[in-house]
Every structure is written in structure tokens, then in C-alpha cells.
């Protein structure tokens, strides 16, 4: 009886899901309610988790609850700690959820809500969740080895080197893009700049409180920090309304870029307890709370999506970024569908906390599903705005013009009506001087989120406060990615430099700390500066570069996973990783080809360099030409490296399958778990 009821329940979930996704996919010409997206996503995740992840766990991976995990065998109370699955889930989700699932879907909304939604749902269920799950399990079976170590032992030295190079490149580009998003969100915004500036003394205060006054009381100090940040948002309004003070915090993009570069260097070189750790706690606190609040807000308010399912920009002429749906929608949305960076977390801290192999399913597959749900919320936040407003915020001045009337006329001419008066009224409502040309996705997301929040709580009177709360929320954890990422890159660089001169590898030797911090900050600072000075807004060239490098890292992770599956003699299930791998190779290699060689100057780096060389020469021209050529070279190098890993992996699969090579796994030997024995009584 119970079994047949369950069967009927799952049939009902499948039917409801089919109906919801069907409405999202087929409805044209009239706005749809956001709840169709929410219900469709919930059903897809439920079915994906119940059936697909269970199939992978049982058939392909053969998860073994009796096999002791490294957390149990190597438990030392420090990094190897047996931890409850829900706690590991929280840890893992807090580490993988960054600005990507918020910003990518907002940018891709220029194609309409449909392409992004379908990619986020299918990409997560069949690719992203699978990658996170299998890499986590394979790392657990190898004592918590990192992706680069697994690539080296399973694919060979080329795999290890490429994984290392890909990680370094992705970090540098990611940090530059993250910083650029903050710059674009805060330029000419005294309210936002003041609030974010205040988070630095607040974090320092939290650091001193934790270290000297109430050691270890992190939750308590995070609550205190949160209250202070809310006061800073409130104070920001006062600052913006008093011109003498507002002038101090009204900064240009280059000035903000320089300040962020200095901040990144300081955060990397300063003791971790003073700034980095408290900021991390504060941003995690705000991040988890706000994501939960946004989810509740969307369900309670169930707003209407004003963006059409598909816009005219599917032809590749979009103002937010240039390029057609294939491949550009799939590299623009990475973190909500599949992100190579997650494989670093899945093979980092998380595998050392897992108590049982069977828990890798909820942590690996489940946490990525939660991240994908965040991306669906971002799509909703972007699409509740009137399309004209969305394009006015996200289009660079180089495309729509600098003057409000000209920009509004250009956007209205595309079929998305908006007037300069509408934009002025909206800017006034959110407490900003202007909302034009705020590229990067963060301001558009903040407007959407503020509209959802203010309609649920406080009405239009609180719109400005909610907008700046959203900006603070995004900038806070983007800056956390920036300082944590700079530090991680510094450690990786120190590791590599230790082969040249041993003291350079010492993480406590200050000359090395300062030199490597400066090198890392200079690398991402260069790309940031390039983005700030780019007449097309920077995001047009940097976000695709970031998407390509992130997805190339996912390609490396799936190469490692497929190689291990072949070595495990589970070849009949190899399509589980081979299909997303083939898709990623198709999108990343096609996108890279377009970004380097496309004849359109808005897409191809080399075409843009040629156009600049043929045009009038200014003091900036030579540098812009060099930057475009540099971006082309970086893209080319990344693709060639990943192609090498792909070739090396394919050679291994063929040799093993033809019986020419012995398949040797580097798993830790089986040890019977004590936890299961005790559990079994």
C-alpha cells in the first residue's frame, strides 16, 4: 500500500513538473507568474535527487556505507573530523554559494527567462550536481585528495599541471571579474560606498572582539556585526543626503578599482583573524539569511515576470554581452548549472568531514541543487523588472549612449519601452543619482530583489533601504571571495615557488607573503583595470573569459571522473559523466573560438584589436589593442591546455578498454567502518 502511494506521489510530482516546465517553455506573448518557475524547479530537483542521484549512487558509484571514510580513519580533530551530514551540507553550501549564481543568470536574462531557466535546471541535474557528487566521492575514497592531486595520479603529470594552471588562471580572472562587479555597483554611489567601507572597521572590530573579548563566540559576534552593518546602511542614507560628506564617498570607477586593489593586498598580507576571518563570518551570516529571505519573499509574493521568454537578442546582438545563445548562455551561467570551481571545494575541506560514503549524495548532489535554486531566484529577480529598465541598467554607455534621453530612446527602439523619467524615478526611489550603465549584474539584481522585498515588507518607502541592503549583501560576499581567493592564490603560488627557492614557500615568512601577495594582486588588478577602462563596460570581455575558464576547469574535473569510472570497470555507466563532458567541450571550445576569432569586434578579441588599430589613435588605443590580444592569448592557452588533458584522458580510456593498459586505481584500501558496526549494534 505504502509503495503504491509513493509511486502515485512521484507520478504526480512528474506530472506537475512537466506542466510547470511546459508552461515556462511554451507560453509566449503574455507575462507568466514566477511560481511556474519555482514549481518546475522544485519538481525537477525532487525527481533528479530521488531517481538520478540514487541511480548514480547505487549503480555507478556503488556507495558503501560499511567503508570507513578518511574523516573516521584519519580523525585528528583538526581537518579530519567525523561530522553530521547536515552540518557538512551547511559547510559545503556556504563555500560553494558565491556571487556566480546571482550574477550569471541576471546577465543571461538578456536572452529572456527561458534559456537561462532551462540551462540552470538541466545543467544542475545532469551536470553540476553530478560533477560535485562524483568528485566528492572520489576524493573521499582517496583520503581527501585535491582535484589537482587526483588529476596527477589518475591522468598523469600533464593532468596535474593543467589542473594547477587552470585553477590559477580561473582565480585571477574570477577575482578581477568579482572586483569589477563591485566597482560597477558602487561607482558614483555614496550610499553604497559608505556602507561597504564601514564593513571594514566592523570586521576589524569583530576580529578584536573575537580575539580579545569573547574568544570563539562567532555566532554572537556575527549578530553584533550584522546589527552594525544594518546601522551602516541606515547611516549611508544620511551620508547620501548631505553633499559635503556624500562628496567624499562619491567615487569614480578607477578610484574604486585602486581602493579595491589596495584592500585585496592588505587582506592577503594581514593576519587572517583581524580582517579575513570576521568578514567571512559576517558575509556567510548575511548570505545564508538573505538567500532564505529571498526564497520566502518570492513564494509569498509570487511576482509576475515581465521579461519575455525569448528576446530579440538571441541573435547575438545583445547589449549586456555579445554572442548567441549557443554557446554564450552556457558559459555566462556557470555556478547555477555547473561550475568547475565547485570541484575544488568538493575535493578540499568537505571530503575530510564526511562520516559515511552514502552521505556524499546529499552533500555533493544536494548542495549543488540548493545552489541551482539560488540561480532560479536570481532569474526571477532579474525578470520581474520591466525589460526596458533591465536593459537601461545593464547596457554599457558605449552601446546605448551616455545621455539618459538617448539611452532610453535606443532601448525603446529595441521594443522595450522605457523613458528617462521612469529611470530617474527609479533611481530616486532606490536612493541613487542614476541607474544607467550599471553593468555587471549586481545593481540589476539589487533592484529586482529590492522590489520583491519592498512589496513583501515596507512598501515603496523602504525601496531605497532594501536596494542598499541588496548591494551590501552582494558586495560583502564578493569582497569575501576576493580576499579569500587572493589568499588561496597566494598559497598556491608560494607552493610552486618553493620548488625554486625553499623559503618562498613558508607561509609565515613576511618577504614571501608580501612578494606573492603583490604578484597575485597585480595579476587580477591588471584585468580589473582593463575592465574599468573598457569602453564596452569590461563585463563584455571579462565575464565570458571567466565563464570559459570556469567551465574548462569543470572539463578537467569530468575528465578525472570519467577516467576513474573507466578504471573502476563501470564503463557501461560512463555516459553519466561523459555526456556533460562532451557538452562542456562543445560549449567551451566553441565559445573560445568565437572570443578569439569571431569577425564581429563585439565578440572576437582579435577583431576588436583590428578595429581599434584601424580607427583613430588616442592615448588609450595601444593599451586597448594589447589587452584584447592578451585576452585572446589567455583564452588560447587555456583551451590548448585542456585539450591536452582531454587527449591524455582519451588515450588512457582507449588503452584500458582495449586491454593494452592495466587499470590501476589509487584508492585507499577498504577498512570496515566502526560507525556502521556500532550503528548495526
Amino acid at each position: 500500500m505504502k509503495k503504491s502511494l509513493l509511486f502515485l506521489l512521484w507520478i504526480a510530482v512528474a506530472l506537475v513538473g512537466m506542466l510547470a516546465v511546459g508552461v515556462v517553455a511554451v507560453r509566449r506573448g503574455e507575462p507568466i507568474n514566477a511560481m511556474w518557475l519555482v514549481v518546475g524547479a522544485a519538481c525537477c530537483y525532487a525527481l533528479g535527487y530521488r531517481f538520478y542521484s540514487k541511480f548514480i549512487a547505487a549503480k555507478m558509484l556503488a556507495l558503501d556505507a560499511l567503508r570507513a571514510t578518511p574523516a573516521e580513519r584519519l580523525e585528528n580533530g583538526r581537518d579530519y573530523v567525523v561530522t553530521s551530514k547536515w552540518f557538512v551540507f551547511g559547510h559545503h553550501f556556504a563555500a560553494i554559494a558565491g556571487p556566480g549564481p546571482l550574477v550569471g543568470p541576471v546577465l543571461a536574462a538578456q536572452f529572456g527567462y527561458l534559456p537561462g531557466t532551462l540551462w540552470v535546471l538541466a545543467g544542475a541535474v545532469f551536470a553540476g550536481c553530478v560533477q560535485d557528487f562524483v568528485i566528492l566521492l572520489f576524493s573521499v575514497r582517496r583520503d581527501g585528495k585535491s582535484l589537482t592531486e587526483m588529476a596527477k595520479t589518475e591522468i598523469g603529470r600533464v593532468g596535474g599541471f593543467v589542473a594547477y594552471a587552470a585553477v590559477m588562471s580561473i582565480l585571477v580572472i574570477l577575482l578581477a571579474v568579482a572586483a569589477l562587479i563591485v566597482v560597477n555597483a558602487l561607482k558614483a554611489s555614496p550610499w553604497g560606498t559608505f556602507t561597504i567601507a564601514m564593513t571594514i572597521p566592523i570586521a576589524l572590530l569583530m576580529g578584536v572582539y573575537l580575539r580579545r573579548i569573547r574568544p570563539g563566540r562567532v555566532l554572537e559576534v556575527s549578530v553584533v556585526g550584522f546589527i552594525l552593518v544594518m546601522l551602516a546602511i541606515w547611516g549611508g542614507q544620511w551620508v547620501s543626503e548631505h553633499p559635503p560628506v556624500a562628496g567624499i564617498f562619491t567615487l569614480t570607477a578607477p578610484a574604486l578599482a585602486l581602493l579595491i586593489i589596495v584592500y585585496g593586498f592588505a587582506a592577503s598580507a594581514m593576519p587572517v583573524w583581524l580582517l579575513l576571518a570576521p568578514r567571512d563570518y559576517l558575509s556567510t551570516f548575511v548570505k545564508l539569511g538573505t538567500i532564505a529571505l529571498l526564497g520566502v519573499g518570492i513564494v509569498v509574493l509570487h511576482p509576475t515576470l515581465h521579461m519575455p521568454a525569448l528576446t530579440r537578442f538571441v541573435d547575438g546582438t545583445g547589449p549586456v554581452f555579445a554572442g548567441k545563445i549557443f554557446p554564450f548562455a552556457f558559459i555566462t551561467i556557470a555556478c547555477g548549472a555547473i561550475s568547475g570551481f565547485h570541484s575544488l571545494i568538493s575535493s578540499g575541506t568537505t571530503p575530510k568531514l564526511i562520516a559515511r560514503e552514502t552521505e556524499t549524495r546529499i552533500v555533493g548532489y544536494g548542495a549543488m541543487m540548493a545552489e541551482s535554486a539560488v540561480a532560479v531566484m536570481a532569474i526571477i529577480a532579474a525578470c520581474v523588472m520591466q525589460p526596458g529598465v533591465y536593459f537601461a541598467i545593464n547596457s554599457p554607455a558605449g552601446i546605448v549612449g551616455q545621455a539618459p534621453a538617448a539611452a532610453a530612446a535606443t532601448i525603446s527602439g529595441w521594443g522595450f519601452p522605457v523613458t528617462a523619467a521612469d529611470m530617474q524615478a527609479l533611481a530616486h526611489a532606490v536612493g541613487e543619482q542614476t541607474l544607467y550603465n550599471r553593468t555587471g549584474g549586481a545593481p540589476a539584481f539589487a533592484v529586482g530583489m529590492a522590489s520583491i522585498f519592498s512589496n513583501s515588507l515596507g512598501g515603496q518607502a523602504l525601496m531605497a533601504l532594501w536596494y542598499h541592503f541588496a548591494i551590501m549583501f552582494e558586495a560583502l560576499f564578493i569582497l569575501t571571495v576576493l580576499d579569500a581567493g587572493t589568499r588561496v592564490a597566494r598559497f598556491m603560488l608560494q607552493d610552486a615557488l618553493a620548488h625554486v627557492y625553499k623559503p618562498l614557500g613558508r607561509t609565515s615568512w613576511y618577504p614571501s607573503i608580501l612578494a606573492t601577495s603583490a604578484l597575485v594582486v597585480a595579476a587580477w588588478g591588471y584585468f580589473l583595470w582593463q575592465g574599468v577602462k573598457d569602453p564596452l563596460g569590461g563585463i563584455n570581455s571579462l565575464w565570458p573569459l571567466f565563464g570559459i575558464s570556469n567551465q574548462l576547469l569543470a572539463t578537467v574535473a569530468l575528465c578525472v571522473a570519467t577516467t576513474i569510472i573507466v578504471k573502476m570497470h563501470r564503463t557501461k555507466y560512463v555516459l553519466v559523466t561523459l555526456t556533460p563532458l562532451a557538452w562542456l567541450v562543445a560549449i567551451t571550445f566553441t565559445a573560445s573560438w568565437h572570443k578569439v576569432f569571431d569577425p564581429s569586434p563585439r565578440i572576437g578579441f582579435l577583431a576588436q584589436a583590428r578595429q581599434l588599430a584601424a580607427g583613430p589613435t588616442t592615448s588609450e588605443t595601444a593599451r586597448l589593442i594589447f589587452n584584447n590580444r592578451l585576452d585572446a592569448v589567455v583564452t588560447g592557452i587555456l583551451v590548448v591546455m585542456v585539450a591536452l588533458v582531454l587527449l591524455e584522458s582519451t588515450r588512457q580510456w582507449l588503452e584500458i578498454l582495449r586491454g593494452k593498459k592495466e587499470s590501476r586505481l589509487s584508492e585507499s584500501p577498504f577498512v570496515m567502518t566502526r560507525i556502521a558496526e556500532e550503528g548495526q549494534g
Partner: protein, 57 residues
């Protein structure tokens, strides 16, 4: 009611884990120390040695 209490307890415990409070308690237990600024400084040094805390994009 009991179920709600259990959910709230799990949520709080998960937050304590995410925010490293649980890790600090384990450190104090392992090192047989009482909580103090010195003990917390030592805990932070150990944390920095074993984990670089990457945060995803």
C-alpha cells in the same frame, strides 16, 4: 513540538559548525585548554595551517 525543537537544535548546531564554534570547542577539548584569548589565537593559527578556506564564485 519535539520535532520543532529538534529542527531548531539541528539548525543551531549546523550554524555553530559553519561558524567554526564547534571546531573551536573540539580544539579546546583536544588540547585540554579553557577558552581564552591565547587559546583562541592558537586555534586560529592551527586553522590557518590546515585550511585555506576557498570560497566559490
Amino acid at each position: 513540538m519535539n520535532r520543532l525543537r529538534k529542527i531548531l537544535w539541528t539548525l543551531l548546531a549546523a550554524l555553530r559548525e559553519i561558524f567554526d564554534e564547534a571546531a573551536y570547542q573540539r580544539f579546546l577539548q583536544r588540547a585540554s585548554l579553557a577558552s581564552s584569548p591565547q587559546a583562541y589565537a592558537e586555534f586560529l593559527r592551527e586553522q590557518e595551517r590546515i585550511s585555506t578556506r576557498p570560497r566559490c564564485c
